[in-house]
């Protein structure tokens, strides 16, 4: 009989279903094949014109029916597609899931196309009056719902039959990890036997690109496949991307009782907010360090307990430097011998979805015994001495993974996952 509680006597949390969509494709199989062969999903932007823009590449998901319909419809479709795959794998009911929903998704705004259309037909003196006048005469709720923060989760809850009030959350680039953390905590509290955690982001609009660009956060490299180069000396920013991942979380007890296949466990969650600056980390890295330590401690492990780090690795000068500082502080000299790779080198930065997608890839890493590489690692940053699994995948027996997520607004969330109970 396997142990089903952790070092603190809490229910262990198993993952019994995973779904993934990235610019590399739909589904675990296609994504994993591409990721482990070192293929990049970054491509030239075709969704809108790129005149006047400094960045002309991205990891947008351009192959779904909603890809051209705006951020809200695409985010919903990304979330629903990943959830379908995850619930399907878990063997649970596809329309009566029976546990809570935690959705990490981007903040919504009325699409510019809708603003233009309303303005054109509206009456009034100011732009605001014209738009409001036209809005009040709309005959459907479609536009309204596209600009409501709770709508995507509400529709997902309908579709999959999740229980109760769905939680939509944002912790910026850590959102996906937070969605998983909230699911784990709910199961640990005994509120539910299962939870559906999703990270989805289809918000790569022209305005989003411009906003990040104005903060000098994006790579201006014009060679799509080569632009995202985490931990390289010549890295120059992240590549904006879209995607989604869904995880079915279950108490290990419940999963075993119904004979489910256990993909892996989420054994530790740690977080710490940074009070230094809105976009920069505290120079000593103490909040990220504290988050890593908290996750490892929550999992009941010591610093020797982590076999692989799925890095946040955004390819910005600041993040990669600070992430190295945090990891080398926590793991000391041993960090040279722990493989640390960044999925973002291939899929770009999927923002609200990143933490969930990278947790999903972390679980596949353990299950398949293969570590995806960090591609575009041609000019190592001498200040960052890490084994980044350069350019080519590596077969390895990985029993535990630390997955890092750091975001604007001082968000630091780390997850520890394990192949099986320790």
């Amino acid at each position: 009989m396997a142990r089903t509680t952790d070092h603190l006597g809490r229910p262990l949390v198993a993952v019994t279903g995973i779904g993934i969509v990235t610019s590399l494709g739909v589904g675990k199989q296609d994504n994993w094949a591409a990721l482990t062969s070192g293929r990049s999903g970054i491509h030239r932007i075709t969704r809108f014109p790129v005149e006047h823009l400094n960045t002309k590449i991205s990891g947008m998901v351009d192959f779904l029916p909603s890809s051209t319909k705006g951020a809200s419809p695409l985010t919903f479709e990304l979330a629903a597609t990943a959830a379908e795959e995850a619930i399907g794998e878990s063997g649970l009911s596809i329309d009566d899931f029976g546990g809570p929903l935690f959705l990490a998704s981007p903040p919504v705004e009325l699409d510019w196309r809708d603003r233009f259309d309303l303005y054109k037909v509206g009456k009034g003196e100011t732009a605001a009056q014209r738009i409001a006048q036209a809005a009040s005469e709309l005959q459907t709720l479609e536009m309204f719902e596209s600009a409501q923060f709770g709508s995507i989760a509400d529709r997902l809850a309908d579709k999959f039959g999740t229980r109760g009030l769905p939680i939509t959350l944002s912790t910026a680039c850590a959102s996906g990890a937070t969605a998983i953390q909230l699911g784990v905590e709910a199961i640990r509290r005994g509120e539910c036997d299962r939870a559906l955690s999703i990270g989805a982001d289809g918000s790569a609009t022209a305005e989003a690109l411009i906003r990040f660009s104005l903060l000098s956060a994006l790579s201006t490299n014009d060679n799509p496949e080569k632009a995202s180069k985490p931990f390289s000396k010549d890295r120059d920013g992240f590549v904006l991307a879209e995607g989604s991942a869904a995880l079915v979380l279950e108490s290990l007890d419940a999963a075993i009782a119904r004979g489910a296949t256990i993909i892996g466990l989420v054994t530790g969650c740690g977080e710490r907010a940074d009070d230094f600056h809105r976009t920069r980390s505290k120079p000593d890295g103490s909040p990220a360090i504290a988050a890593v330590r908290a996750a490892i401690a929550d999992a009941g492990l010591g610093e020797t307990g982590i076999a692989y780090v799925n890095a946040h690795g955004t390819s910005t000068p600041e993040n990669d430097k600070m992430e190295h500082l945090s990891l080398s502080t926590v793991f000391g000299e041993r960090i040279r011998n722990i493989p640390v790779s960044s999925n973002k080198s291939m899929i770009g930065h999927t923002l609200s979805a990143a933490g969930a997608i990278e947790a999903a890839f972390s679980l596949l890493t353990m299950r398949e015994g293969v570590i995806p590489p960090t591609i575009n690692y041609d000019h190592p940053d001498p200040a960052i001495e890490l084994d980044v699994v350069p350019n080519v995948k590596r077969e390895a027996d990985v029993a535990t993974v630390l997955s890092n997520s750091f975001g604007f607004g001082g968000q630091n969330t780390c997850l520890v996952m394990a192949r099986e109970p320790q």
């Binding site: 605001a128 939680i167 909230l182 022209a206 710490r272 907010a273 940074d274 604007f408």
Partner: protein, 395 residues
């Protein structure tokens, strides 16, 4: 009584009625007060505007103030009031270990930039290129951060040094409901000892009204008390600016630092009622049972928005269950969206703390309640989706 009881040990409030728990108790106890509204600025819509605020009192650095637009400033300010009230503000150790769950929407766009783009769109047929051209040159780089939902929490971390954890929930009223429910569950289960929870809504920007009006939810024409807007022009909702933050603490933690509490949160229930199934009222009734309110006459701090369908269903609940005596505070403050449920819970806690019910906010629709309330119910039925109720009792 348990060490894990969830106590409210700090309250921060801002609305058109003023700031702080005492100002709100006084203003709401004045049954004859005229509504504080502005029907001109955003005509044909009426709003409840912010009071005069000296931001320096809670956000001392001008540089910090400049990084935020009004919504984030309001939230950060209100959070500071709650921390002050709980005796936690400027206590470095307590702030550093404090958790945070914020209910947030989005921040304000640059109205002038948007208007310029829209105006230019009339004489051009290359909208997408126009957007690239104008946004690239006209947007302030830092404005993005003032719009990001999680940057209210980010600013609270920076200004008040709350850094134990930071989570932002989105989803209109549901965000505020889930934030308090999650915070209370964390304390009850021992996952947290003290949490800052709440939200703010700043309605004085056309986009914030547009969010409602895309669904035709806003009341128009002459202002009326909330329960009397059925059948009037528009959708029944009058929006307000305001914020509500609570410091929730385990009994153990509060006692160890010698803090008195306003009230105890006994139960919280939340739901996503399928309103189109025709079972709306019955489901609300079921929620009111599930929260285990006492059978005796119970004061209800209702977060009703005025939106016709939702407010009609909630009114139906009070019509059938005469033991429930509602006070729809949006009559006095306007609807505060993400902050609505935290505001309802805060006002409920003040009634317990002050040992008295509020007078009716609308004497035509609400009846007086005598005596000191033992339990008070706080409700929020979202104008479009999501519902929550909390039962509060003496600490």
């Amino acid at each position: 009584m348990s060490n894990r009881d969830v106590l409210i040990t700090g309250i921060g409030l801002v609305s058109c009625l003023g700031e702080g728990p005492d100002a709100h108790w006084r203003a709401l106890s004045d049954a004859a007060a005229a509504p504080r509204i502005d029907s001109e600025r955003f005509a044909p819509y009426t709003i409840h505007p912010l009071p005069e605020i000296d931001w320096n009192l809670q956000i001392p650095k001008r540089g910090d103030q400049r990084q935020m637009e009004l919504w984030q400033r309001l939230g950060t300010y209100t959070a500071g009031l709650a921390l002050d009230d709980a005796g936690i503000r400027n206590d470095e150790a307590l702030c550093a270990s404090m958790d945070m769950v914020i209910a947030a929407g989005g921040g304000e766009r640059d109205e002038a930039v948007d208007a310029g783009i829209l105006e230019a769109s009339l004489s051009r047929n290359d909208r997408e290129i126009l957007l690239n051209e104008k946004l690239t040159t006209d947007l302030r780089p830092t404005l993005f951060l003032a719009q990001l939902s999680n940057l209210l929490a980010g600013n609270i971390s920076i200004v008040h040094k709350v850094t134990g954890s930071s989570r932002t929930f989105m989803g209109e009223e549901g965000a505020g409901i889930a934030a308090i429910e999650t915070a209370a569950a964390r304390i009850r289960s021992g996952q947290s000892e003290h949490i800052l929870v709440g939200g703010a809504f700043e309605t004085e920007h056309p986009d914030m009204l547009l969010g409602y009006e895309l669904g035709a939810f806003l009341h128009r024409g002459a202002w009326q008390p909330l329960w009397q807007r059925q059948g009037a022009d528009g959708g029944g909702l009058v929006s307000g600016s305001g914020g509500a933050f609570l410091v929730l603490e385990s009994r153990d933690h509060a006692e160890k630092r010698g803090r008195k509490a306003y009230a105890k949160i006994d139960a919280i229930v939340s739901d996503r009622i399928k309103r189109r199934d025709g079972a709306f009222e019955a489901e609300l009734e079921r929620m009111a049972e599930k929260v285990q309110r006492p059978a005796a006459e119970t004061l209800v701090l209702s977060g009703a928005s005025g939106a016709h369908v939702a407010t009609g269903a909630e009114h139906g609940l009070y019509d059938r269950d005469r033991a429930l005596a509602p006070r729809a505070f949006a009559t006095r403050t306007g609807h505060l969206k993400e902050a609505q449920f935290p505001f309802a819970v805060a006002l409920a806690a003040l009634a317990i703390h002050n040992g008295a019910a509020y007078p009716p906010f609308d004497p035509q629709a609400e009846r007086p309640v005598d005596g000191a309330p033992e339990s008070v119910l706080a409700t929020t039925v979202g104008y479009h989706v999501f519902e929550g109720m909390a039962l509060l009792g003496k600490a």
